[in-house]
Symmetry: C2
Subunit: 317 residues, 2 copies
């Protein structure tokens, strides 16, 4: 079951030519969801040969422009492209008001419905239930109401051992075995055991997206053990104080969160435009949490199904 | 006195990768003004090495997204960049409301003032008076309130003939001569004649910007004799009917307006994304009005000071 995230933009607020404002495309099986939608995101989708018409839903973390100014353009283009299918939209209170006003003045009659759910930016709550995964908000510590998103895959069923399965076993029994239920005959004797006929289910995968936030350990219990974490890293150690006063994080802080939350793999991005080279972000983060990668634009990261194997360099305090 | 327009974007509403939404940079001497501001315009400014901080004013023709969705991002970046200087903003009623709402939710305290003037989209009125030029609205025939802009240079003074000017001529006399006033001595005899000491002033230049509009001859008296006209040409002859019902123009119609209005030079753009080649637009327009050019992105067009020399192929009916 493919579960991946394509980085469309991982720049910060100041516009530069070599990075784009925040946006990521989350793919689960064949379904696409957008996470944040900075200015120009619809062009990033085109560049990456993603058909925007296939988007099922959009998650907006907060209403700073570099995270959502591309949304109205994308929605307008979806409409122009003839979309009629409902679109899910999640974001802080006020997002609907902004969109409604813009559609009013462009006199755009929308041919599809936008099913909007405001996000709870003050507590981690279940935001959306998909047949295969749940999405929870991650309250972040930023200048304005802001919530990241935890995409938590639902537990898989156990896997049948093909070699052991014969036509003699009724279909209902197979279903029960996959659900971890032993099968007993009428006399109460064990007929088919879960242990013999199935393999353990692969561990559920999860992706935590933490866009703009100050270092905040209160998110750790929410994201604990996530397979993949994207955490912003706007600054480096040299500007740690500035990171704090501006409600942003350093690369070291992002890595510390990953280490303390026992994350499988860390992606960092949202680098301040004042830094011309990004390698130093990686060095700083990897000194704390080795399994760190740059959220490089145009790159797809698979959400790993293996649990964390990172041996952190910092003790878990 | 440099007077030019740089094409930043000349695509139409459907997003494509090889064209960008509408935006142009008008430069008069050393001052910059933006005309329309489609999504991504701030990145086009960067690409063209234009410092957005130096913008004096922004003119928005109408509130369809491909003409203004880049505005809020640009204004946010100007603020982030530390701008404190007032910014002039012109556009249809409602534009201020959209911006105010977005700034409210991003909790952005603006460090500069936006001096907003709503445009009159129903009649041609004086919108802005600059020391060197006036800007008038050009009511356009589109699906929503829409006005183009006529940048009309003020008459120049006559030019002094350097070789004839000596220190003996008082400064006040020079000023009078440049204003076209002959100088008489106390006895009423002609002392310095305008004809002898000056050359005629160069004709004032003008630029007419007609973004989205159906073919509409009512604009002809407003733009008559303009040095340079940008007129949209979304379709070609094959889709003339569609052009009309969608409130857009064909290349032939744009050229017919130019021909009938005795324009000096015509730029066409806003081509529908269904046409992969733009040369056919040019051929179609040039069959009516020879001095037509494609509004190619990244190209600067000088506003010519010479009057129209185009020999049109159609009779002026």
């Amino acid at each position: 079951m493919p579960f991946s995230v394509l980085i469309l933009g991982a720049g910060s607020a100041t516009p530069v030519l070599n990075r784009h404002p925040s946006s990521q495309l989350l793919t689960y099986e064949s379904e696409n969801f957008l996470i944040d939608c900075g200015e120009g995101t619809q062009f990033r989708l085109l560049e990456n040969k993603v058909r925007p018409g296939k988007l099922k839903g959009i998650f907006i973390s907060h209403l700073h422009g570099d995270h959502y100014f591309g949304l109205i353009g994308l929605l307008s283009s979806l409409n122009l492209g003839g979309r009629t299918e409902d679109l899910l939209l999640f974001g802080p209170k006020g997002l609907d008001e902004v969109l409604t006003l813009q559609f009013k003045y462009s006199q755009t009659p929308l041919q599809f419905r936008i099913l909007y759910t405001p996000t709870d930016t003050s507590a981690s709550t279940l935001l959306y239930e998909h047949p295969c995964f749940n999405v929870y908000t991650i309250p972040l510590s930023h200048r304005i109401p802001c919530a990241g998103f935890l995409f938590q895959e639902k537990p898989h069923k156990r896997k049948l051992i093909k070699e052991k399965i014969t036509d003699a076993i009724p279909f209902d029994y197979l279903r029960q075995l996959k659900n971890g239920e032993d099968i007993y005959d009428e006399g109460g004797n064990l007929q088919y055991s879960v242990a013999e006929y199935t393999l353990p289910a692969p561990p559920p995968r999860s992706y935590a997206y933490c866009s703009d936030t100050r270092y905040d350990e209160s998110i750790i219990p929410i994201i604990r053990g996530a397979s993949l974490l994207y955490h912003e890293a706007t600054f480096q150690d040299d500007l740690a104080h500035q990171a704090s006063t501006r409600f942003h994080s350093t690369a070291r802080e992002a890595a510390t969160i990953a280490q303390k939350a026992n994350i499988g793999q860390l992606l960092i991005g949202h680098f301040s435009s004042r830094y011309k080279e990004v390698d130093t972000f990686l060095t700083e983060a990897q000194s704390v949490f080795r399994n760190t990668h740059i959220a490089e634009e145009g790159v797809t990261f698979n959400i790993p199904s293996t649990p964390s194997t990172d041996v952190s360099l910092l003790p878990d305090t």
